[in-house]
């Protein structure tokens, strides 16, 4: 097994060599603080109350500019989600007006149904861009579409620690990252200074302030709390099957480990005659007998 030994030695050496190489990664980007999320790790699950609060923030603040194309009202009652009841979803959908055609083919606005998707705030990307300078990105995959450079060696550790929350960490950081630009920083007109945005010049004005959204459950109404809740909600919007994935993953892992263990001992038993011939144990030459 020389190849195995050399392979391990080499992997360690390569790791050390890469560690010594210049870390060029985060030149224009301040790494966002890593928060602890209820959905991180192999047994992570969403915090229903947090998703409901995050949804409230989305509805009252984000939704005026950002679409949520791939999420339907009915998803809010799906298992592994914010946990609204179907009655709540019916009532919620009915508050929305959906563009549709009537029986005669005439365009109408009807009340929403649970199967409808969230209507976009702008009729198309051009209208969104005209109203905002830059079209605000759709939010249904945002938490998986945003990240930041982890750099060596962190990206290797992430594989083992299962750090997959770059997206929500980044979104939270952006929301709390608005500050006065440093004196030597030239902010172009229409831009806003954000500590965590790559290049610091972000088109979106600060969307959230302390006390802006009312929480009914006594949760602190602070910017930091809003940022955490909306980030968690967006993670759910991007990865609504996370809870099922973690649950099935654990079952599959147990199954595979048991299967591999059984196969290992089966292999041992089958190969025993080849690897430790009976003749050798009895002091005879195994080369004189056939298998």
């Amino acid at each position: 097994m020389t190849m195995t030994r050399t392979f391990i030695a080499l992997s360690l050496a390569a790791g050390a060599a890469l560690a010594a190489a210049p870390a060029l990664a985060q030149e224009h980007q301040v790494p966002p603080p890593q928060l602890s999320w209820s959905f991180s790790g192999p047994f992570g699950m969403y915090d229903q109350a947090q998703l409901q609060r995050g949804f409230k923030v989305y509805r009252e603040v984000c939704a005026s500019c950002h679409s949520l194309d791939y999420v339907a009202f009915r998803n809010l009652a799906d298992p592994g989600g914010p946990g609204f009841s179907t009655a709540q979803v019916d009532a919620l959908a009915a508050e929305y007006k959906i563009k549709d055609l009537d029986d005669k083919g005439e365009p109408v606005e009807r009340t929403g149904r649970p199967a409808d998707h969230f209507p976009a705030p702008f009729p198309n990307a051009a209208a969104a861009a005209a109203a905002n300078g830059v079209a605000p990105p759709d939010m249904s995959t945002l938490a998986k579409a945003r990240t930041y450079q982890r750099g060596f060696p962190w990206f290797i550790f992430d594989l083992f620690t299962q750090y997959q929350e770059q997206g929500p960490d980044y979104i939270h950081a952006i929301l709390v990252g608005y500050e006065e630009p440093p004196k030597d920083f030239k902010l172009p007109p229409g831009g806003h200074y954000n500590k965590y945005f790559p290049g610091h010049n972000i088109a979106m004005p600060q969307p959230l302030q302390d006390g802006q959204v009312t929480y009914d459950d006594g949760t602190p109404q602070t910017l930091d709390q809003y940022a955490k809740d909306i980030s968690a909600f967006l993670m759910w919007a991007a990865e609504p099957q996370l809870e099922a994935r973690h649950r099935i993953g654990f079952q599959v892992m147990i199954f595979l480990i048991v299967l591999a263990g059984l196969l290992y001992f089966t292999k041992k038993k089958v190969w025993h005659e080849v690897e430790a011939p009976r003749e050798a144990a009895q002091g005879q030459d195994p080369a004189k007998t056939t298998l």
Partner: protein, 408 residues
């Protein structure tokens, strides 16, 4: 090696079939009685792992294709709907996307093993070249599959890679237009990539059959790099190789499941969750990890045409390996100098992979050039010369000799 089949079915129906189509005998001689060297280590289980992965990719791919729409306005959406509305669609897609990475991981280990133990040498040249063809087909298939998602990185990777052909003098632009089916990456490109992405895995499966056929004619190489001389040197494929391969596949699946269930997007790029937008170029365009070494070779050469030539040469040179390596000794176990040069070459490959993900500036360019030079130097200078100058260690008399000596 395989010899005549000793398959004698007891069942009347099987006897009837066997006299008309001896498929039972074929299976028996290929996967039951087939003699396999007794000293194979676990690096030899990756052939079985690769067959398993090809099966996984084809099965999940067929189901995904039932739900996918190859249209520029709908492709991204259909992928998202697979993730959200198709029963276990998220599982199928994460298996398929991470399966591609696992497939490449396994094929790289399989190739490194083949080079380390000299498995490409006579009489296994055709076996090796068929492997290189499979690898080329895999690269094409993987690339086109990545484009189907139609995210930002899909679109821009398609643009960059197809544009490579524009470097060819005279015919370049025409070829690129022909590949695209238009004047930019668009609907015809996506549609034909879907068609080819569905076709090529079956071509791979066909070449795999040839690969296994060639393997069963020449017989497997082994860590000692000497041919089996008697029955004592081999064990029958079933149960010995079957149970060992099954165990290896189960262990490999644990790694695979880790990616699928716990870090499904680790090997992907965040930009691919943004729908393709021809008007916005991403800050950085990087290929999937398994193409990074070749991307680094491409960018290490300042001239575009020469870079493209180097890129293709770096893969095609593998096909000439059986003749570039002039040594008669197969296994690196008995080739001390080759062993060192081989591991340096592995470092160069991994180093190029890391550099492919870095911006082409400063120290990274210099390192890419050093590693690229070594990558090619290994094939065209070191291997031909080593065969002449290297003093190899004495080979064991037989496989069973080498096994028993190792135990003693």
């Amino acid at each position: 090696m395989s010899g005549h089949s000793t398959y004698q079915p007891q069942n009347k129906a099987l006897q009837w079939l066997e006299t008309r189509l001896p498929i039972g005998g074929l299976i028996h001689s290929s996967f039951v009685a087939y003699p396999t060297p007794r000293n194979l280590n676990y690096w030899w289980t990756f052939g079985g792992i690769l067959s398993f992965m090809l099966g996984v990719q084809i099965i999940t791919g067929i189901v995904l294709a039932m739900h996918y729409t190859a249209h520029v306005d709908l492709a991204f959406k259909s992928v998202e709907l697979i993730m959200r509305d198709v029963n276990y669609g998220w599982l199928l897609r994460y298996i398929h996307a991470n399966g591609a990475s696992m497939f490449f991981l396994a094929v790289y280990i399989h190739m490194f093993r083949g080079i380390y133990y000299g498995s490409y040498k006579a009489p296994r040249e055709v076996l090796w070249i068929l492997g290189v063809i499979i690898y080329l087909l895999m690269m094409a298939t993987g690339f086109m599959g990545y484009v189907l998602v139609w995210g930002q990185m899909s679109f821009w990777a398609a643009t960059v890679i197809t544009n490579l052909f524009s470097a060819l003098p005279g015919v370049g632009e025409t070829i690129v237009t022909w590949l695209w089916g238009g004047y930019a990456v668009g609907q015809p490109t996506l549609n034909r990539f879907f068609s080819l992405h569905y076709l090529l895995p079956f071509v791979i499966a066909g070449v795999v059959v040839l690969h296994v056929w060639a393997l069963h004619v020449a017989g497997q190489n082994n860590p000692a790099g000497i041919e089996p001389k008697s029955d004592k040197d081999t064990v029958p494929f079933t149960p010995y190789a079957t149970v060992k391969d099954s165990f290896a596949i189960a262990v490999f699946c644990i790694l695979f499941a880790w990616f699928i269930f716990y870090v499904p997007n680790y090997l992907g790029h965040a930009d691919n969750y943004i729908p393709a937008n021809p008007a916005v170029t991403p800050a950085e365009i990087v290929p999937e990890w398994y193409y990074l070494p070749f991307y680094a070779i491409l960018r290490s050469i300042p001239d575009k045409l020469l870079g493209v030539i180097a890129l293709f040469a770096s893969i095609l040179i593998l096909a000439f390996l059986p003749w570039l390596d002039t040594s008669r000794v197969r296994s690196a176990r008995y080739r001390p100098l080759f062993k060192q040069c081989f591991w340096l070459w592995v470092i160069a490959c991994i180093g190029l992979g890391w550099l492919g993900s870095k911006p082409p500036e400063g120290i990274y360019v210099l390192l890419s050039r050093v590693f690229t030079a070594y990558y090619f130097g290994f094939f065209i200078i070191i291997l031909p010369l080593l065969g002449i100058f290297e003093k190899t260690k004495p080979l064991p008399n037989s496989i069973s000799d080498s096994v028993l000596k190792a135990k003693a």
